[in-house]
Every structure is written in C-alpha cells, then in structure tokens.
C-alpha cells in the first residue's frame, strides 16, 4: 500500500489480487447474489483508492481494508432492511467446494450457521472476522473499534453460546487423520 500511495500504480493490482478473494469470501458468506458481493468488493477498492492518503504505513493493511468492506456490507444490509441469515447454508449454493461435503457435514454447517445468526451482532462479528476472514484478534479489534481484551471477551461469550446451542451431541467433523483413513477405506472398497 505504501508503494501505491507513493505512486506505483502496479501495486494496486497486487493489493487487489491479495485481498479481493478474501473480501469476496466475506461478502458471499452473507449475500445470496454473486453480483451484489462483487459490487461491494468493487466499492471497497474504490474507497480504498479514494482514502489512500489516510493509510498509515506503520499499520497493517488487512484490518483497514476489512473495516471499509464491513462498513459497506453493514450499510448494504441496513438499506436492504434484512439481517443475513443462513449464511453458510446459502454459501453452499454458490461455492462448488461445499457441494463435495458429506450430508453430516452439511447438516453440521447448517446448524452452526443457524446458531451463529442468533448470536448478538457484536459477538457474531468478532467470531466471523476471526474464524472465517482469518483476522487475528488485534486486527479484529482494529476493525470493530474495541480493545483486544474486549474482543476476546466477546469471542468467549459467543463461543459459550455457540457450544451451548450446538449441544454436546453435535456431529463432529472428521479430523484430518480420520478423513485420510476414511478415504483409504473408501478407496479400498471400490
């Protein structure tokens, strides 16, 4: 970003290639239409360009980009007057990788999506930014405008609610080792 602010136009493409896939994933998690997700990402990069003089080169770019994107997404939903629901469920319709999941895993994802949607927004936001968007807690704190400890407390409260809602008998996704063993078994039975 520093190079872009200094006038290196090619650096913008590098920034785009690094962050556009992450932002699209974040948008698609709660939007049903790919075009609308694209539009929000497009707006994010336009605002990034307009606000380039505000970027502090001593700070990380990722939380700054996500702040712009999440503000746009929040405004989008405010204008649409609906809250995102069944987010992960909806995503399965547009993401081919999800189609390959087993029925139990799809059920688990749906259950998680449902209980996530029922969390208070400040807790859900923190968990989604950390888990699904890959921001570290100090970066999440920067995006939401709270201290790192406050963000961790929100995450903890959200985790407690999620685990209670999921229950102790929630279906467990297989671990890598179990999945590999399962694949070997299936391969052997063919």
């Amino acid at each position: 970003m520093g190079a872009y602010v200094a006038g290196d136009a090619a650096a913008f493409r590098v920034i785009f290639e690094r962050y556009a896939p992450l932002l699209l994933r974040a948008m698609l998690r709660e939007l049903y239409v790919r075009e609308e997700a694209n539009d929000l990402v497009q707006q994010t990069f336009l605002l990034l360009h307009r606000a380039r003089a505000d970027f502090d080169p001593t700070q990380k770019l990722k939380p700054w980009v996500f702040t712009i994107a999440m503000n746009l997404k929040r405004e989008y939903f405010r204008k649409k007057k609906r809250r995102p629901e069944r987010s992960l469920d909806a995503e399965s319709a547009v993401e081919p990788a999800v189609a390959a999941l087993g029925a139990a895993q799809v059920d688990a994802r749906r259950t998680l999506a449902r209980v996530l949607a029922e969390l208070p927004p400040d807790q859900r936001e923190v968990i989604e930014l950390h888990w699904f968007d890959g921001l570290e807690f100090p970066e999440v704190a920067q995006v939401v405008g709270a201290s790192v400890s406050a963000v961790k407390v929100r995450a903890h409260r959200g985790y407690v609610r999620l685990r209670q809602a999921l229950g102790d008998d929630a279906p467990l996704p297989p671990l890598a080792a179990e999945a590999a063993a399962g694949n070997r078994d299936r391969a052997g039975s063919i």
Binding site: F12, F16, E17, A20, P21, L22, R25, L28, A37, N38, D39, V41, Q42, F45, L46, L47, H49, R50, A51, A53, D54, T67, I68, N71, L72, R74, E75, E91, A97, V98, Q105, R109, L112, A113, H130, W131, F132, G134, E136, F137, V143, V144, G145, A146, S149, K152, A155, H156, Y159, V160, L162, R163, L166, D168, L172, P173, L175, A176, A177, A179
Partner: protein, 267 residues
C-alpha cells in the same frame, strides 16, 4: 502462542495439542471453549471456513472506477482526512470571522467577550470533532459508524443547549425583550452556511452515504450557522435563539436526510 495459531491448527484438520497450547489455554480468555467436549466447537468452526472466492474479471471494473477518478472532486476527496477536516472547519471559522469583521452585532461591545469566545470555542471544537468523524467515512471502525445516529442527535442538540446554558446578550431590556424575527435569522444563517454544506459534499468519499452521516453533516452545518449568527445577531431572546438559530441544523439535516432517500448510485 497466539489465538490465530490455535485457529490454524484446527483449520489444518487437527485438534491443536502440546505444552505451548496448554500454556496458551491457561491464559487465554476465549480459546478454552473451543476445546471443550472433544473440541466440538473448534472443529465445527474450522469446518465452516470456506475457500477463498475467485475474483474473475472484477479487477477490470475496479480499474475502470479508479481511472474515472479525475477532476476537482476526485482530487479533493482524495486528500487526507485531517486536511479535509481542517478545510471544512476553516470555512465555518471564516464565515464567523466575516460576520465579526463586516456585520458585527450592534451590542458587541456591551456583553461579555470571554463568554463569546468560550461559546465560539465550544462550537469550533464540536466542528473539529464532528468533521473528523464525518470525513473518516467508511474507514472508521464499525463501532464508530454504529454510533453515528447518536452523534447526529448530539450535534443537533448542541446549539439549543448553548442557547439555554449560555444566554449571550446584553441585559438591555431592548434586546432581552426582542423576539426579533427568527425567520429572518434562520434564512440568513441557513443560506450563508451553504459553502460548508457544498464543501462537505465535495469531500465525501462514499457514493452511498448512510442517512445518519448526512444528518450529522446537516447538524454540523447548523453549528457553523450558529457560530456566524452569534457574531451577527444581537437577540438574546431564548425563543429567537431556539427557533431562529438552533433549527438551522435540523433543517439542513432534514434536507440532507431526504436527499439520501433518492437513488444515488447506479452501476
């Protein structure tokens, strides 16, 4: 060890373990819950993380947008936020000074100068804080954006509060009794503050501006109008101050709020 490493462990398809993990779990307020009951939550959250989505030919559209950023407005809104805020507040101060130098109120020499400057300083400080917040726009943290509605109400109430707490005028019965003509002051202030509103529009980076932000902008225009009217209008009648001065921000907020209802963006 950080929470992010715990997450990466789950994403790699395993339950993170080892002395470093144990040490982290003893001190971390959030991660232990991920490991309870066979790490069901950590595993399910990891399972729900989707692969990154391909951007396709989106860059061409972004590039087109960026190339279209030419002209005066593009240059102005690309300025750093402190610069744009200083310019916006500078316009308000210049309007106030122009009244003080050219159209000063008749009783200016009669009333408390310290009170006038304290009141002006309060209004200018509100303008500085408000314009910084307003012009940071979408790069302000989510919490600040969520509180924008509350901030707008504060800016709208400030002129009325000042009128109630710092009645600024002479004890002369002539001015105390003067109802004056609030409509004339209202029109005078609302029109004179137009450059402030215009400059805000030139500085605003968002195409779709949230309504609460536009209401804040209107309220700040009202504060700028009160700054210039206190230098110009001699009335200290509370009714006049509330109806003729404090309502300017409300009027501008209504106008800008209505503008936000009209379709602005088409791609």
């Amino acid at each position: 060890m950080e929470c992010a490493e715990i997450r990466r462990g789950f994403l790699a398809g395993r339950v993170p373990a080892g002395p470093a993990v144990d040490a982290h779990l003893k001190s971390c307020p959030s991660c232990p819950e991920l490991f309870d009951h066979g790490a069901v939550l950590g595993r399910q959250l990891a399972e729900a993380v989707l692969p990154e989505a391909g951007a396709g030919d989106l860059f061409a559209l972004v590039e087109r947008d960026v190339k279209a950023e030419v002209g005066l407005r593009a240059r102005l809104r690309a300025l750093a936020t402190p610069v744009r805020s200083a310019a916006l507040v500078g316009v308000a101060v210049a309007l106030g000074l122009s009244q003080l130098l050219l159209h000063r109120r008749e009783d200016f020499a009669d009333y408390s100068a310290p009170l006038f400057w304290v009141m002006s300083a309060v209004l200018v400080l509100a303008l500085v804080a408000g314009s910084l917040r307003l012009l940071k726009g979408a790069s302000a943290p989510l919490a600040a954006q969520a509180r924008e509605g509350r901030a707008a109400v504060q800016w709208l109430l400030l002129p009325a509060l000042i009128a109630l707490l710092m009645p600024l005028g002479t004890s002369s019965p002539k001015w105390l009794a003067a109802w004056g003509s609030p409509g004339a002051c209202f029109s005078y202030g609302a029109v004179l503050v137009l450059p402030f509103v215009l400059l805000y529009w030139l500085f605003e980076r968002r195409d779709d501006v949230p309504r609460a932000v536009l209401i804040s902008a209107g309220a700040l225009a009202g504060i700028a109008a009160n700054l210039l009217l206190y230098a110009h209008c001699p009335s200290s009648h509370l009714g006049h101050l509330l109806l003729g001065h404090a309502t300017i921000g409300v009027a501008w907020a209504l106008v800008l709020g209505l503008v936000s209802r009209s379709p602005q963006r088409s791609r």
